[in-house]
Every structure is written in C-alpha cells, then in structure tokens.
C-alpha cells in the first residue's frame, strides 16, 4: 500500500518536471519573443518602438540569451519559491495569479455546484423514467447543450442580456464596487453577477453529466439486487438512491483529477468572452504576449494540479472500490 502511494508520488514528480520543460519549450516555439509581440501590438495601436528601445528591452528581459539558460535561471528561482516577474504586468507572477485565483475558484465552484445540482437529479430522473416524454425532452436539450459551443452561448446570452434586460456587459463587479475594498455590499454584488457565468460554464458539463449519469444508472437498475430490493418491498426512492445511484457515482471519482485544474483555470474561452477577471484569460494573454514566466507558471500550476488531482482520485478509488485494493496485492 505505502509502496503503491510512494511510487505514484515519484511518478507525479517526474511528470511535473517534464511538464515544466515541455511547457517552457512550447511557449518558446512560436516565432519572435515578448518584445516582438510588444512591438507589433503597439504598432497596431498607432505607436512605435524604436530599434534602440527594442534592443534595450531584450537585454533587460534576458531574451538575448539561449533558451536553456533562460529555463535554467527560471527553474533555479522556482525551486526557491520565486516564480519570476511577469514581463507584461511588471509584477511578481505569484501576485498576478493570486489576484485572480480566488475569483476563479469562486466562479468554478459555483459552476460545479450548478452542474451537479442540475445534472444529477435530471440524470436520475431520465434513467428511472426511461423513454418518457420528459426523458426525450432532457435528452434533446442535453444533446443541444453538448453540441453548441460554450462561448457562442456566452455571446448570445450576453447580447440578449444587454439588448433586452440591460445587463452589465461581462465582468464580475459593478462599476461602483470595482474599486471598493471588500464589504458585504461587494460580496452581494459578486453573487448577483455570478449566475450568468456559472450558468454558461456549467451548461456543457451538465449535458455531459446527464448522459453519463443516465447510462450508468440504467446499467445498475437492471441488476438483480435492485429487483430483490423491490421484491422485499422497499420504497422506490430508497431502492434507487441507496444502492444503484451510489454505484453509478463511482466513475465521477476518477474525474476529480480534471476538476482541480478546471477550478483554477476556469474555461478560457468562456471567461474571455464574458470578460471574467479569472486565470483563464490571463493564461491566453500571457501565451499571446509570450510572457514566458507567467505562462510557464500557470501551465506548471495546471500540470501540478492535474497530477495531484489524479493522485487524489487514485486514492479515492482505492478507498471506495475494493477491487482496486485487491488488485494491488496480486
């Protein structure tokens, strides 16, 4: 058991190092560097950077040195807990991410709660009342939800929200609270802004979950133990909820690995369309601007969280599923 866990931990560590190298290389792959991106960005908005300024910028950022030197310098710092300065934001990377991390977690958790809150009851209902008219209706809506890209939905909702209901365009705070320090009013304002992004973020996940839940539960409902339980006169809701639903939930334990990075990054495209101040758009921006330390740190963070998440779901599975524990001893 302990050996199993240790082996998993060691593999996780190796994966993280590999991720850090691969992400750094991939960020370097596109032609040009941060200074090129900065120049063309300014150039496209009607200002200029002279050759002398560009050269000076490259030296300041150390972009004139080879990739491995840049990686080595960064890694030495990372090991000491310093993730470097964001080139674009001119602040320590940890601060830039930290600013947005809590809001991202709030939005993502709201989306997860909404997803599970909608999907599980509907999935159970669809399975229990298979081929009923509501089941067909949910199936239709579910497939539509799966098929429509999230960001498109976000755009449409935002447009109609603006034209029909005069909603504020994007963001998580009203103008009067944007600058204000945290207060009950500001929290209320945040809660008022949450439903739209949470809804959009949760829709595709919801559709998917409904399908999985329905399929899993249908498998379980046909098992003999369900018939036995019914024959012994148990109330129908108890028959369904007590055993088959619990068994059907098993596969969700293995998806926790992907839940953790989602909680931190949110959905990049949707957040971007809705202009949410979350980590997702920050990552995209950093990649486009080739802000290496910021992009590298976020990718590293996501990688580490995926590894931790997978590790956790391994542990949970081991705990809830005796078959896995049995397998280890062989």
């Amino acid at each position: 058991m302990l050996a199993y866990i240790l082996r998993r931990l060691w593999l996780g560590l190796v994966t993280v190092v590999a991720i850090s190298i691969v992400s750094f290389v991939i960020i370097q792959l596109p032609p040009g560097d941060f200074v090129d991106a900065y120049i063309s960005n300014l150039s496209a908005s009607g200002s200029m950077v002279s050759q002398q300024e560009a050269q000076s910028l490259r030296q300041q950022y150390g972009l004139d040195r080879p990739v491995w030197v840049q990686y080595g310098k960064w890694m030495t710092k990372v090991i000491q807990g310093d993730f470097g300065m964001s080139m674009e934001w001119g602040r320590p990377v940890t601060e830039v991410i930290g600013d947005r991390l809590w809001l991202t977690i709030v939005v993502s958790i709201a989306a997860i709660i909404l997803t599970w809150g909608i999907a599980l009851p509907i999935g159970i209902f669809s399975a229990v009342r298979q081929y009923s008219i509501p089941d067909y209706a949910f199936t239709f809506v579910g497939f539509a939800g799966l098929a429509v890209p999230n960001f498109l939905l976000a755009l449409i909702i935002m447009y109609f929200g603006f034209t029909l209901f005069d909603l504020k365009i994007g963001g998580l705070f009203s103008a009067e609270y944007q600058l204000a320090p945290w207060s009950y009013g500001k929290v209320g304002d945040l809660i008022a802004h949450l439903p739209l992004p949470a809804l959009v973020l949760s829709l595709a996940g919801t559709a998917q979950l409904i399908r999985i839940m329905r399929a899993n539960l249908l498998d379980e409902l046909r098992r003999p133990y369900v018939t036995t339980a019914r024959a012994r006169g148990l109330a129908e809701w108890r028959v369904v909820l007590k055993y088959p639903v619990r068994a059907a939930l098993n596969p969700f334990a293995s998806t926790i690995g992907y839940l953790l990075p989602f909680v931190v990054s949110g959905s990049i495209v949707v957040s971007l369309v809705l202009s949410l101040p979350t980590v997702g758009p920050l990552l995209l921006r950093a990649l486009i601007a080739q802000d290496m330390f910021l992009a590298g740190t976020i990718v590293l963070l996501l990688g580490v969280l995926t590894v931790i998440g997978t590790f956790l779901s391994d542990l949970i599975l081991m705990w809830i599923d005796p078959r896995i524990r049995a397998g280890m001893h062989e």
Partner: protein
C-alpha cells in the same frame, strides 16, 4: 489591444455585424461621409501667449482648496508658474468635477494613459497637426547654423510633488539616464546626427541647449513629434523605456549608484524590495503607470497602477495650465480605466454608455451598431479622419531573391503600376471602410506640407483594368493558362504572388482577399497568407515575403516615422529588409539597392536632417513622388477613421472639439488637451 484571438474576435464581430444588418434604418448612408453629420470641422484650444491678457486671480478644484485650508498644499498662485500656460478652451469655461471612465486592455496598453497626458512634452502640435504649440517650453529656437537648439522652459514650473522643474532635469536625463549604458544601452539617432553624438547643456535654470557638431535642422521636427527625444516623460519613461529628454532628478537620484552609495548599496536596496537589480528597480521607479510616487508633469497622475483591474489617475495639483478665467486645469478630477479582457467586450461596453469618452480600440466595422445605440448609451459619435494616405498599403519586397522569376517581376515598375491600376479602391472603401475613407495613393493628407501636390493622390492609383491588362501583356506576361491566369516565363506554370497579411486593427486578410479577386480579373494569381503577426515579423526580417500589407500611419511625417514608407529601419522594413540593413549599418550588412530610384530616395532621406525646413519639405515631396511614380507600395484607401477615429463622447461632456487630429504626433486624444474637457452636470 489588437491583441490576438483572431478567430474568436472575428466570430464575435460577425455576430454583431449580422445583428446590426438585421436592424433596419441605421443612420449611415454609404458614401455620404460629408452629409452624415458625424464629421466636424477641425478645431482646437488656443494658447494665450500675451501676458497682458492673462488672468490675475486663480481658482482651484474644491478638493485642492480643502487641502490648502488644511495646510497640506501651498495656495494655488504659488503652485502655478510665473510663465503661465493660459488655455482658451474650445467653447467655454468649464466646471470642476467628475470621473472620466475609459476602457483599457491591460498593462501593455500604457499608451492609453500616456496619450491623455501628452502635454508633458516640451512642445505639442496644435489641432491641425502641422504647427507646434508651446507646452513645457514657452519658446524654442534653432540657431542659424543648425548646430544649437534652445528650449526656454516656463519659469516656476513644478513637478507634481511641488519640486521645481528646471534645466537640471534635462542635464540629469542626458548625463545619468541616457548616457548610462546599463539603463540605456544604445545611442539614439535623435541625439547623434551623422553618427556624431550631441550634448545637452544648461545655460541657466530655465534655458537648455541641445548642441551638435553638424547641422541638424531636423531636430526642430524631432522636438515637435512623438519621438524618443521630444516624446515627454509619460510615454518615453514608462514600460522600461528610458528616453524623453528630461527626468525628475530630485526623485530618481536615490535609485542611482552614483548618488546612493555605489552599485552594491543600490543592488542591496533593490533586492530588499524584490527587484533583480538596481536597473530593474529604476525602470520601475521612473514608470508613472506603475509607480504612483514618481513626480510627473501631465494633468493626471497614477494613484492605482496600471497592473490592476482598474487603472486610476487623479489630478496633478501642480499642473501648470489655467483657463482664461484663471481656473487651474484639469477640470476633471479622476480618470478610471477599466480592464476589458478583449476588444469585443470593450466595444460593447462603449455602446452601453459605460465610457464617457473613448476613441481607442473602437472598431470602425461596428459603426452601424454604434450609431444604433447612440440614444440609449447617451453618447454622440464623431468620426475623425486620419492624416496618413492609406490604411492598407501593399509593400513590394524589393530585396526579395528566393524565387528569381517573382523577384524579376516585383522589380519591374510596369508590373507594379499595372497591379495598382487593377485595384478597385471604391469597392474596398465601401466594403471595409463603410465608404467613409479616401481612395488613392500612399501620399500623406493634402492638409500637410509634405503632400507632393495635385495629381499625386490619383497617380497610378485609379481603377483602370484595361490599361493594367495592356501593360501586363506588354511586359511579357501575355501567356495565360486554361483558367485565364498569367504564367511564369521560366517554366510555364502559373505566376503566383504571395500576399502576407496579419489580422491586426483592420481585417487585412479579408481586405487582401478582395484585392486578390481584383487582381485575378487581370490574370494575376495572388495567394493571401493569413499570418500570425510574430511569424510575419520574423519572415519579413528574413526577407521571405513577396508582398506585405500593413498601414502607413505615421508616414505623414516622413522623417519622424519613415519605416512604413521607405526601407530605412530594419525593425519593420517591408519594402526591402536587406536594403534597410544596408542603410542602417552604413553599408556593412545587407544588400545595396540595385534600383537607382531607391538609392536616390535613401540619399534624399539622409540629406534631409541637415536641411532647413523649406528644403526639407521639398525633399520629402520628392521622396513621395519617387515612391508613388515607382509604385514601390500600392496605396488603397486611407485618411479614414479606422484607427482611433470613431469617437464615442458622453452627452454630459463639454469643450469637446468637433474633430480630433488623428496621428501619432497628435497623440490622439491628448493633442486636444483633455485637461480642458468637463462635465456639464
């Protein structure tokens, strides 16, 4: 920021445009810009230079008056300089108060704020973009021999912390910032005419001389333009830049090794504050967008830095300008810029009336929807036309070599002229500029002295496909393949030109598709390569492109920003990267142009720096004539509102000019003196 995300942006744009078209009766009849009521007459503030007409008593904003009462601030008359800057606003005397809400796209968008503080430079052009006005300097003069340029600063000028601003701040910049290789590694052409370094010399507290070894009459233009030397503190010392002719010596000295106990001491202090080195610390400390403590000279100073969700500025209590009634400017208390994660959101917020005045990042393509929402967003739309000749300029790469057949045709003047005659500029104008721009050559606007003269807007730049066909036949491209495309003379295959287009502030790939269709009608196949912009830059620097499309904004002042007109700057030399390397290295790198006309243009350009104003203008006109006659770059449609020319102004704002000057050196919107704008209620 015309920052990335092309697909998403296009998609979102598509949706907005579709919705717009679905709404009947939007107020813009195509091709009737003059009747649309959206384009006003150019107008601007007047600077009262006669001391007899200056106000004798002064007022200040209520918040500042309170601070004076509490003893935290000297009285207003002591904060203002003896040599006042007295501004007569466009319409009326304003009122104090209000917060100017704008949108920005992140820390890379420092120009958004730099520009509204544009008066922090020695001189600033007036609303025409053609004449310099006093700003920090009350007077200026170039000596007869062109070797000494004198600035007379305002006596009693003060930094935003109340410290005096004098000639010492200029000398400090020159000796301690610009001459320090750790901070500013290279010399700049603005201070080194013909490679000979110039100097900044203090004459007295309020008189500064720029001294050169050779005649450098061009320095007059450099000081007036948006240049490394004349650009002022806000833009030239933010975002790790280190130029701008002056710097707050009394504040910055504490971060320099020379004044703060040596390199080790400042490095230790830097490390303690979390910076890698004293240089990194200095770059942070002198950046007004990041460091609220650095003294500035513009109307507003940062109170919450740019690397936050909201960038906040507040009035500079020592701002040195008053209106004709003696009210210290600016009228507006605060500026708040709210971060928009993408341009679609920024445009939607503008239409929802969430900004009070926004011209930056507004998309001309959305004009119908913008007009549609005028009443509910409580704003008025102005269209301001730019001074540059073309928003889509097709540069032929004259130093291209990889494919000798292509290179041969690119170098053929009649080939280039024929392609230009085959472009239907009217169709482009109506499709992409909603009919509000001016078709024609690359020449700068008629309003500027550099315009080469009547006829040069049209020269080789009208739509004449018949003549184009005849010319192409005549030069030896008469053979066509089965589908009617002209074929190469070396192997009989179809002649295929590549047009490299980047999705930036205009949809250049789409514009180029239309141009390619028009060229197809005269039998020329052009493949549009929708290229990611960094890749485009790399390919261009490696001399790999046939044709590159960009805009020529800035070239209206040819000497200050020549890179999109003639190949002199290797950073962006679309017309011939190898020639630019040759020119820039003094002939040691790159390739010498084989076209005598290009050589002549480069010679003319080099000689201009030592010429007096009148000759310099003639030289520029000469360069434009060679450029247009040779069609080294095809001009399409320009003098448009595409870049910063669609202006949404809240109905509550007063003193707003009917037309803004749209150009780099006008520092749109800063050239219109935002410190004179005010909220009516």
């Amino acid at each position: 920021m015309a920052f990335g995300l092309p697909h998403l942006a296009r998609l979102a744009l598509g949706i907005t445009v579709v919705t717009a078209l679905a709404m009947p009766g939007h107020g813009l009849a195509q091709g009737s810009l003059s009747q649309s009521g959206l384009v006003g007459q150019p107008e601007g503030i007047t600077i009262v230079t006669d001391p007899a007409q200056w106000p004798k008593t002064f007022n200040e904003a209520p918040q500042l008056a309170d601070l004076v009462k509490q003893g935290k601030l000297p009285p207003v008359k002591d904060r203002l300089p003896q040599d006042l800057m007295v501004i007569k606003p466009v319409k009326e005397i304003g009122k104090y108060g209000g917060t100017w809400r704008r949108g920005f796209t992140g820390p890379g968008d420092d120009e958004n704020g730099n520009r509204i503080n544009a008066s922090d430079r020695p001189l600033l052009v007036d609303y025409t973009g053609a004449k310099a006005n006093p700003s920090l300097a009350k007077a200026w003069k170039m000596s007869e021999d062109g070797k000494t340029y004198t600035l007379n600063l305002r006596r009693g000028l003060k930094w935003s912390d109340g410290a005096p601003m004098t000639a010492d701040d200029f000398v400090f910049w020159f000796e301690e910032i610009y001459s320090n290789k750790d901070i500013s590694p290279t010399t700049i052409p603005d201070m080194t005419p013909q490679g000979k370094p110039g100097r900044i010399v203090k004459v007295d507290d309020y008189t500064v001389n720029f001294v050169f070894d050779v005649p450098f009459y061009l320095f007059e233009d450099l000081m007036e333009g948006d240049t490394l030397i004349g650009g002022g503190q806000a833009v030239r010392q933010s975002n790790k830049r280190s130029h701008g002719a002056y710097a707050p010596a009394h504040y910055l000295k504490q971060f320099l090794p020379k004044f703060a106990g040596g390199v080790d001491a400042v490095n230790a202090a830097a490390k303690a504050e979390g910076f890698d080195s004293w240089v990194a610390r200095l770059h942070f400390k002198k950046d007004w967008t990041l460091n609220p403590a650095v003294p500035v000279l513009g109307p507003w100073r940062t109170v919450q830095p740019i690397n936050n969700a909201v960038w906040v500025m507040e009035r500079n209590p020592f701002y040195w300008a008053v209106d004709t009634a003696g009210n210290q400017l600016p009228y507006i208390d605060r500026v708040t810029m709210t971060l928009a994660e993408n341009l679609e959101v920024l445009n939607l917020r503008a239409m929802a009336g969430e900004y009070d005045l926004q011209e930056r990042h507004i998309d001309l393509g959305k004009l119908p929807v913008i007009l549609e929402n005028q009443a509910r967003g409580k704003y008025k739309v102005h269209l301001d036309t730019a001074l540059n000749g073309t928003d889509a300029i097709y540069h032929f790469n004259m130093s291209y070599e990889a494919d000798p057949e292509i290179a041969k045709w690119i170098r053929n003047v009649d080939f280039r002229r024929a392609l230009s005659l085959a472009v239907d500029r009217k169709q482009l104008n109506e499709t992409f500029w909603l009919g509000v721009a001016t078709p024609g050559s690359t020449a700068p606007g008629e309003a500027l002295p550099y315009f080469p003269g009547p006829g040069w807007r049209e020269k080789w730049s009208t739509f004449d496909p018949k003549k184009a066909n005849e010319m192409l036949d005549a030069i030896g491209l008469s053979k066509k393949d089965g589908q009617g495309f002209r074929v190469r003379t070396d192997n009989g295959q179809r002649l295929r030109l590549q047009v490299q287009a980047v999705q930036a502030f205009l949809p250049w790939p789409k514009i180029s598709e239309m141009v390619a269709d028009q060229w197809a009608k005269v039998g020329i196949q052009a493949d549009v390569k929708d290229t990611e912009r960094n890749l485009a830059m790399t390919r261009t620097q490696n001399n790999e492109h046939h044709i590159m499309v960009w805009n020529n904004g800035g070239t209206e002042l040819l000497y200050l920003f020549p890179r999109h007109a003639i190949p002199v700057d290797p950073t962006e030399a679309y017309m011939g990267p190898e020639f630019a390397k040759w020119f820039n290295s003094g002939g040691t790198q790159g390739k010498k142009p084989d076209d005598p006309n290009i050589l002549k243009m480069l010679e003319l350009y080099s000689s201009a720096a030592g010429q007096k104003s009148e000759d310099r203008i003639k030289t520029a006109q000469e360069i434009w004539k060679i450029l247009i006659d040779g069609q080294y770059a095809i001009g399409t449609v320009g003098q448009s509102p595409a870049l910063m020319g669609v202006r949404l102004v809240s109905e509550r704002l007063g003193n707003i000019p009917a037309r803004n000057c749209i150009a780099q050196h006008c520092r749109t919107p800063g050239g219109a003196h935002p410190e004179t704008w005010f909220y009516k209620n």
